[in-house]
C-alpha cells in the first residue's frame, strides 16, 4: 500500500530518524536533488547506516539514487543495495537505465545472499521522453512496483508553466495511470509543492485519484494525513462494496448469473471494483479480513 510517499533529505539525521512516526506508507530517503554535490558521499553513508540500524516502523524504505549519467548513481547503488532497501527510486528513468540497474542489483543480491528480485524499482517519470515510453519502462524489469510522476522536472522539460490546477500534466498523469493499470503496478502522483495550501492539496489529490492514481508523494509531513485520507476508501465506498459482495453471494446461492443492486446491474467489473475497495480497506486496517 503506497497511499503516501514522503520525501526526506538524505543528509539530515533529525528528519531521517523522525520520519517513521509521521504516518506515511513509504519514506523516500533522497540522495539526489535535496543533497548538494559536496555532500553526496556523506548522505550515502548516513542513509546506509539508517537503513541498517533504525526501526522504520513498518514504512516502506525507498531510496532515491542519483542518475546513472554520473558516477554518483553507480556509487549509490553499490552502497545502498547492499543493505537491502525495499526499493530504489530512479530519477529521469529510461528503459535502458532500469534494465542496467536491474542487472547491477541482481549481481549485488547474489553477492549478498538476498532473494533475487527482492529489491524493487520505482521509475520516476519526469521527462517528456519518459512519459511517452512509460509502458516500456515499466515492462523492462519485473522489479518495477510503481511509477512516480515528477511534474516539476517534466514541466521544465515541456517548457510549460506548472500550475496548481495541473491541466498541463493531465496527459502525463493519464498516460502513466494507463500504463500502470495495464501492467498492474502502482501509479503515484507528483508532490503538491505549496506546503501551506491544504485545500489545494486535497483538490489535487482528488483530481489524481479520479483518473486512477493510487497514491501521492509528499514533500512535507503535514501533507500526509490529507493524502492518506483521499487515497483510502471512504466508509461510504466500503459499505457499498460490502453490499455488492453480499448481493453477489446471495445471487450465487440462488443460482443467478446476473443480479442487480439498487436498480443497477452488477457485472464482473463492478464486482472487481468492490473486491478491490475491500482489499484496500483491509490492507490499511479499516476493516478486518
Amino acid at each position: 500500500m503506497r497511499r503516501s510517499m514522503l520525501y526526506i533529505p538524505g543528509n539530515n539525521p533529525s528528519m531521517i530518524q523522525n520520519a517513521p512516526v509521521l504516518g506515511a506508507d513509504s519514506i523516500i530517503l533522497d540522495l539526489e536533488d535535496s543533497v548538494s554535490v559536496d555532500e553526496k558521499d556523506s548522505a550515502r553513508f548516513l542513509v546506509r547506516n539508517a537503513l541498517l540500524e533504525l526501526d522504520f516502523n513498518g514504512c516502506e524504505k525507498v531510496v532515491r539514487i542519483n542518475s546513472l549519467n554520473t558516477e554518483l548513481g553507480y556509487e549509490d547503488i553499490d552502497v545502498i543495495a547492499r543493505v537491502k532497501p525495499d526499493a530504489l527510486l530512479v530519477p529521469k528513468a529510461t528503459k535502458d537505465a532500469i534494465e542496467e540497474i536491474d542487472e547491477l542489483i541482481s549481481t549485488i543480491e547474489r553477492e549478498e545472499g538476498f532473494k533475487l528480485g527482492s529489491i524493487k524499482l520505482i521509475p520516476l517519470i519526469e521527462t517528456a521522453f519518459g512519459v511517452e515510453d512509460v509502458f516500456n519502462i515499466v515492462k523492462s524489469s519485473k522489479r518495477v512496483a510503481a511509477v512516480l510522476l515528477g511534474a516539476e522536472d517534466l514541466t521544465a522539460d515541456m517548457e510549460v508553466k506548472r500550475t496548481k490546477e495541473g491541466e498541463e500534466i493531465f496527459y502525463a498523469r493519464s498516460r502513466i495511470v494507463s500504463a500502470c493499470k495495464a501492467l498492474k503496478v502502482d501509479a503515484i502522483d507528483t508532490p503538491f509543492t505549496d506546503i501551506n495550501d491544504f485545500e489545494g492539496l486535497k483538490r489535487d489529490c482528488q483530481r489524481a485519484k479520479l483518473i486512477g492514481m493510487t497514491g501521492k508523494a509528499a514533500v512535507n509531513p503535514r501533507q500526509i494525513d490529507i493524502i492518506n485520507e483521499v487515497f483510502s476508501p471512504s466508509m461510504e465506498d466500503i459499505e457499498w462494496a460490502k453490499r455488492v459482495i453480499a448481493a453477489y453471494d446471495e445471487a450465487q446461492r440462488e443460482g443467478k448469473g446476473v443480479f442487480s443492486l439498487d436498480g443497477k446491474m452488477v457485472d464482473a467489473p463492478v464486482l472487481a471494483r468492490a473486491k478491490n475497495v475491500l482489499e484496500k480497506a483491509e490492507a490499511i486496517g479499516l476493516i478486518k479480513g
Binding site: 539525521p13 530518524q17 558521499d41 556523506s42 553513508f45 547506516n49
Partner: protein, 87 residues
C-alpha cells in the same frame, strides 16, 4: 588506511555531529565536545574509536562537536571524514 590531510563531515545541527579529522603521529585521539557529554561522552568516544578501528585507521586526531547524534550518524560522519581525508 593512512590519513594524509585534514577533512571534515557532518553539521552543527540538532541530532548531528560535526567531525574534523587530522593526521596524528601519536595514534588515534579524540577531542569531544557534546551537549550530552556527561551522560553519553564515553559511549560517543567508543563509537568513534570503533569506527576508526573498523576502517583500519591508526593515525587520526578526531575533533568532534556533537549535537545529540545517534550512533548511526556518528559512524556515518566519521566514515565520511576519514574517506575524505585519504582521498
Amino acid at each position: 588506511m593512512k590519513i594524509t590531510k585534514p577533512a571534515k563531515a557532518g553539521t552543527m545541527e540538532s541530532n548531528d555531529i560535526y567531525i574534523m579529522v587530522y593526521p596524528n603521529e601519536k595514534g588515534n585521539e579524540i577531542q569531544l565536545d557534546s551537549i550530552v557529554l556527561k551522560q553519553f561522552g564515553k559511549q560517543i568516544e567508543k563509537v568513534i574509536m570503533d569506527t576508526l578501528k573498523e576502517l583500519e585507521v591508526e593515525n587520526a586526531l578526531v575533533v568532534a562537536k556533537d549535537r545529540g547524534a545517534l550512533d548511526y550518524t556518528i559512524r556515518a560522519r566519521v566514515e565520511t571524514a576519514i574517506k575524505r581525508a585519504i582521498k
